[in-house]
Symmetry: C2
Subunit: 214 residues, 2 copies
């Protein structure tokens, strides 16, 4: 089998496909054309067909895609058909919001450990059923719960140090909330919440609005 490298931008779009398809399935729609899917996702039908073509042949020309089937297949490709054990590092205000965020568990992301270096936090309860643990327990917790992903919500100045510790403890994926760009080795997947990118794609619309006013 020939493995084609899927461009990262395509991977970044896949969760949006799964969301749109889930919505369609919830609405009782069984078949969707690339035109209809394109309207939901603000993409051209050609782009949709091109993106999906990386992963196989999901539809027949002129017949549309089977919603449930495509949703399941893409979910499997993304690894959404399994549970991902995660830990949270940093249980300040943001960390506590993250642990109480109702969006993670239904999507298969379970936060099974919470850690902090702040001694006043350790042994306090957080979320529904966790106790904050000292950073010294990191490796043991990762092994015990087979944790693959860490969510990092520590102050900016501590972020690289914490991420280095996570890498040493064999974490595979890191979601970093601090507005900094830490370094990780090639075999670790890092996603930064990138506020500048978000702002820069926002001003495209704001510029039009402000010009419309003047």
């Amino acid at each position: 089998m020939i493995t084609v490298q899927v461009p990262e931008v395509v991977v970044l779009r896949l969760p949006l496909y799964v969301r749109a398809l889930t919505q369609l399935a919830d609405d009782g729609i069984e078949v969707v054309s690339s035109q209809q899917l394109g309207r939901r996702l603000q993409m051209t039908p050609a782009q949709i067909r091109k993106d999906l073509s990386y992963f196989g042949r999901f539809g027949k020309q002129g017949r549309g895609y089977k919603v449930e089937f495509l949703m399941r297949e893409l979910g499997q490709i993304l690894g959404l058909d399994r549970r991902w054990n995660t830990c949270l590092v940093g249980v300040g205000r943001l960390g506590r919001a993250i642990i109480n965020y109702p969006g993670f568990a239904p999507e298969g992301f379970n936060i099974l450990a919470a850690l902090d270096s702040d001694l006043t936090q350790i042994n306090t309860p957080v979320g529904d059923h966790l106790i904050v643990q000292p950073m010294g327990n990191l490796g043991a917790e990762i092994r015990r719960h087979e944790i693959v992903i860490a969510i990092v919500a520590v102050p900016a100045a501590q972020t690289q140090t914490v991420i280095d510790e996570l890498v040493k403890s064999d974490i595979k994926g890191i979601l970093n909330y601090a507005p900094v760009a830490p370094q990780v080795p090639m075999n670790v997947v890092l996603r930064n919440i990138d506020p500048v990118l978000s702002l820069q794609s926002m001003t495209y619309y704001l510029r039009d609005m402000l010009e419309g006013e003047s």
Copy 2:
């Protein structure tokens, strides 16, 4: 002139183009082909030509794009050629990290006011030159500094209330850090830091890694 609706996914990619072009310009590269740009951005040349075609004709077939020119043009389209006055609502740990983040000002995003509802925070200094103000000053600060964008870093439970206040105060763009999905009217641009989308595009790579190990 015919105005074409640019798909949102294209707009979301434009800042990545500007970043790649800035890097190329810094490296002293004057002309870039869609192939070269594609390698930097992990996109196909065809996709790049298609994206750029929404905004005019930037290159000649076989001649490549002029780096400086394309960078400036895209920057202008995105509104990156002007300064955007912003305020920060919520000066907890995350808010303070945001205000100290060195990435905003060079990109034209100036945080000119910081507000919080916590009485113990009010009148304390934050960042290099701001004083935390009470939420009652919101409208006045927005008018005084001609603030267009608000960055919201308040606890999840307060986010919708704060965003409603911002909308009433005529804010045009909101960058929300809380892991919730607030509602805004059609004429306000909202960008949520969406942790589930980030995680879901990460597991695509993690799944491969874990399978590679077993």
